[in-house]
């Protein structure tokens, strides 16, 4: 196709109703912005990149796509930087929730490089191929028309060749162009693309032109300014979590999050409630988040990645490591944006090389397994309105809400629901049991949303979606002793299990249940009636310990581990643990000493959860999303990471 054919292509796409987004000069960079004609393209311009540096320069020729990549990627068109995902309104006295799916204007992406094409494919795995699809992303993706562009020149920061994501666009495009001085080679990649191609001024490519393409691609490979050895990289990174290089990089990293903003695959998002000052409507908005920001890993007072070192390590080990376990691919496409746009020029290829040169033994990571998508394609954010039928104050700051839910609601012990109040937010709360068809949640007042939830009254309504996550292995409790070790609010997710075991006829000599429960003080003990009821069961032993004695308390004072030391720890028993992580870590050390097989230990973890579908990235724990791979884990899944500071 002659160079002039590009104008024909743009006008054909416009005529077909596509909004055109392509390269355009703005703010001293080449941006992906709305364009109309060829005149909007950066004809005759290129970009010169180095760590922490990006400059536009004139080219000697008039190529339209003679640059590498700018700060933006196509992510901003598919996974919008800011988007309303849900609206709530007050109708006849009760809140109603409506998921929002904004109208989609079909968009043609003009000039998608192989690395960015790979990046779109990676985000598709996060948002579409997952168990639950993101409806808005999916709609925009389906309607997009992709005009890819092959690279015949590489930049100083490019390493797509190492990541296997370029420089040739192989598939997943509608049309693919390769630009030369006076012509374009055009390839079609879909029926949609072929239909457009039939209207372009094309002629069959000559053998010389075809060899120009392979020579161009080869030249590009040779020109790449960066390279990376990806052999065994995920396992190597997780085997080197305490490598001194993390401290070195943290000395210069500003934790600004630029790298995650410019990265075409970074997908973490935050969810905020946006309420106007009137009553009624409130919106839930999601926006790009960064694992470099402190709030990313924060839950009611705990920040799991408080140091810059923790956050840089989270980013790098995720991007190049745990991404493989989560999505079956690296999270890096080798575009080099994070190097150019880092204000201090940190280069992940250099960081990785430093670790590789002086590396400790690799550790095995979980293998990726594709998820079966939920077929009914319900909206991920769709909430059910649930009515509170009963409220029980458990302690000064803990309340159990019983909710009336539709008959088709089924959950397993250990799973959680997302509970929401309009204008305030949504929080993950474990189901603490059910009685008479009512689903119970035991909630501690630790923040704005939980404060509001714990002050609700009977007949009030709230939004609920779920259940999510993994369950306690109830099937494994039969025919063996079961030890349940909990502390504080950690008893709530295990109450259902206790109730279940209490109902069974168990042999007190071989199938006894031992509950070891710690709390701060007597007034903080949950479910006291039930504790006493269980105590009367001949097959159940209840042991309670407090950190602080109150007058008249004649029970144990001391830690859960001290109490556990006094208990028989049968090697064939099953151990279920839920409580503060420091407690769980001490308990696991004790169980290891008692030679309990790690396979017989289960624990429930907690992290920052926003979406409950493995999309928002906030609850990551190494290769896991606590919301869907957990919260209940079998200990061998976690042992390579558990207790490691900063995850």
């Amino acid at each position: 196709m002659p160079t002039e054919g590009l104008a024909v292509l743009l006008s054909l796409l416009s005529q077909q109703g596509f909004r055109l987004v392509g390269p355009r000069i703005g703010n001293g960079a080449i941006l992906y912005d709305q364009i109309e004609t060829v005149d909007d393209l950066p004809v005759g311009w290129t970009d010169k990149q180095a760590p922490g540096s990006y400059r536009l320069e004139k080219r000697a020729d008039n190529r339209a796509f003679g640059y590498v990549v700018g700060p933006q990627s196509w992510k901003k068109e598919l996974f919008l930087p800011r988007e309303v995902i849900q609206q709530s309104s007050l109708e006849t006295g009760a809140y109603q929730w409506q998921p929002v799916t904004a109208p989609v204007s079909p968009t043609a992406f003009i000039g998608v490089r192989a690395c960015d094409l790979a990046a779109i494919g990676i985000q598709d795995r996060v948002f579409v191929s997952a168990e639950q699809a993101d409806p808005a992303y999916d709609a925009r993706r389906q309607s997009a028309f992709i005009v890819a562009i092959n690279c015949t020149e590489a930049g100083e920061l490019c390493f797509c060749d190492s990541m296997g994501s370029g420089p040739r666009a192989e598939s997943d495009f509608d049309l693919c162009l390769t630009e030369f001085d006076d012509y374009f080679l055009v390839e079609t990649g879909s029926e949609k693309g072929a239909a457009i191609a039939r209207q372009l001024p094309l002629k069959a490519a000559s053998d010389a032109e075809k060899s120009d393409l392979s020579a161009g691609i080869e030249q590009c490979r040779q020109q790449m300014g960066r390279s990376l050895n990806t052999e065994g990289l995920p396992e190597l990174l997780f085997g080197n979590l305490n490598h001194p290089q993390w401290d070195k990089v943290a000395d210069s990293c500003l934790a600004c999050g630029n790298c995650t903003s410019v990265c075409p695959t970074c997908f973490c998002y935050s969810v905020e409630e946006v309420a106007d000052l009137g009553v009624g409507a409130a919106e839930r908005e999601r926006s790009w988040d960064s694992c470099f920001l402190q709030n990313h890993s924060k839950i009611h007072g705990a920040t799991f990645q408080s140091e810059i070192k923790d956050r840089y390590r989270q980013w790098l080990t995720h991007k190049f490591g745990s991404w493989h376990s989560q999505f079956g691919t690296s999270g890096c496409v080798g575009c080099g944006r994070c190097i150019a746009w880092c204000p201090v020029g940190i280069d992940p290829t250099e960081q990785i090389e430093a670790i590789q040169q002086d590396a400790a033994e690799p550790v095995a990571l979980p293998v990726y397994r594709a998820e079966a998508p939920i077929t009914d394609r319900r909206n991920l954010f769709e909430s059910t309105v649930a009515k509170i039928t009963a409220i029980k104050a458990e302690t000064d700051d803990v309340v159990t809400l019983a909710l009336d839910l539709p008959g088709n609601y089924h959950y397993q012990q250990g799973q959680f629901n997302m509970l929401a109040l309009p204008g305030l937010g949504e929080v993950p709360i474990s189901v603490s049991g059910d009685s008479n068809g009512q689903i119970e949640h035991t909630i501690r007042d630790v923040g704005a949303v939980t404060a509001a939830l714990t002050s609700l009254k009977a007949n009030d309504t709230l939004g609920l979606r779920g259940p999510y996550g993994t369950a306690w292995p109830l099937a494994k409790t039969t025919g063996r002793p079961v030890t349940i070790i909990t502390g504080g609010i950690g008893l709530a997710p295990l109450r259902g299990v206790m109730r279940n075991l209490a109902k069974q006829i168990r042999n007190p000599d071989s199938e006894w249940v031992s509950l070891v429960y710690g709390a701060r003080e007597e007034s903080g003990l949950l479910f006291r009636d039930e504790l006493e009821q269980w105590q009367r069961n001949p097959a159940i032993k209840v042991a309670v310990t407090l950190d602080r004695a109150s007058p008249g308390w004649s029970g144990n004072i001391g830690t859960v581990t001290t109490l556990l030391q006094r208990k028989q720890l049968p090697v064939d028993g099953l151990y279920l643990i839920c409580g503060p992580e420091v407690m769980m870590a001490a308990v696991i050390r004790q169980l290891n000493e008692a030679e309990i097989a790690p396979e017989n230990i289960y624990l429930s973890m907690e992290r920052n959860m926003k979406c409950a579908a493995g999309h928002c990235g906030r609850c990551q724990y190494g290769p896991y999303f606590i919301c869907k791979d957990g919260p209940v884990f079998n200990y061998p899944q976690l042992d390579f990471l558990f207790g490691q500071q900063g995850f």
Binding site: G301, V446, G524, D547, G558
Partner: protein, 161 residues
């Protein structure tokens, strides 16, 4: 204090971890100076500030350890409880021999009472035995220290923002 001293049955000492660790000969010499005591519930085993004259092994029962906090409404705080099989009374081996805590008998308990003066003499004469007992004491003190630290961390409490 309602209690009675009884000579120790070797069968009982064999059940106790400390004696098991010592080996037969040392265990016998320790048993020779020890006696078994039964104490009723709701009594005090010893009081903070008094002379620490015995080391105890709790054969059965529950004893709480409390520290006086003058000026507090309840003037005393229980900091730990000791249960079956556990040691208490390591102050009896310290140079000043003063109880740092009070010990309240919560449940009727049986104890092995090892008089401090005789124990110290025994340890001095038999350094090997003394070392084993000192190591054991260190483990008890270490355990209490860890426990206190964790209690101090207030892990079940609400962390401040």
């Amino acid at each position: 204090m309602s209690n009675s001293a009884i000579r120790i049955d070797p069968g009982l000492t064999r059940e106790m971890e400390l004696f098991r660790e010592l080996g037969e000969e040392d265990a016998a010499s320790l048993a020779a100076i020890a006696s078994l005591r039964e104490v009723a519930g709701k009594t005090d085993l010893f009081s903070q500030g008094d002379a620490a004259d015995s080391l105890y092994i709790l054969v059965e029962g529950r004893i709480s350890l409390a520290i006086q906090v003058p000026g507090r409404a309840h003037a005393e705080s229980v900091v730990s409880t000791v249960s079956t099989g556990e040691l208490l009374g390591w102050s009896a081996l310290l140079p000043d021999r003063v109880w740092q805590v009070s010990a309240h008998v919560i449940k009727p308990s049986r104890l092995i009472d090892i008089p401090g003066a005789e124990l110290r003499q025994l340890c001095e004469r038999n350094c090997g035995l003394g070392y084993k007992i000192a190591t054991r004491m260190l483990a008890v003190v270490g355990q209490r220290l860890t426990e206190s630290r964790v209690q101090f961390l207030d892990i079940f409490g609400q962390t401040s923002e």
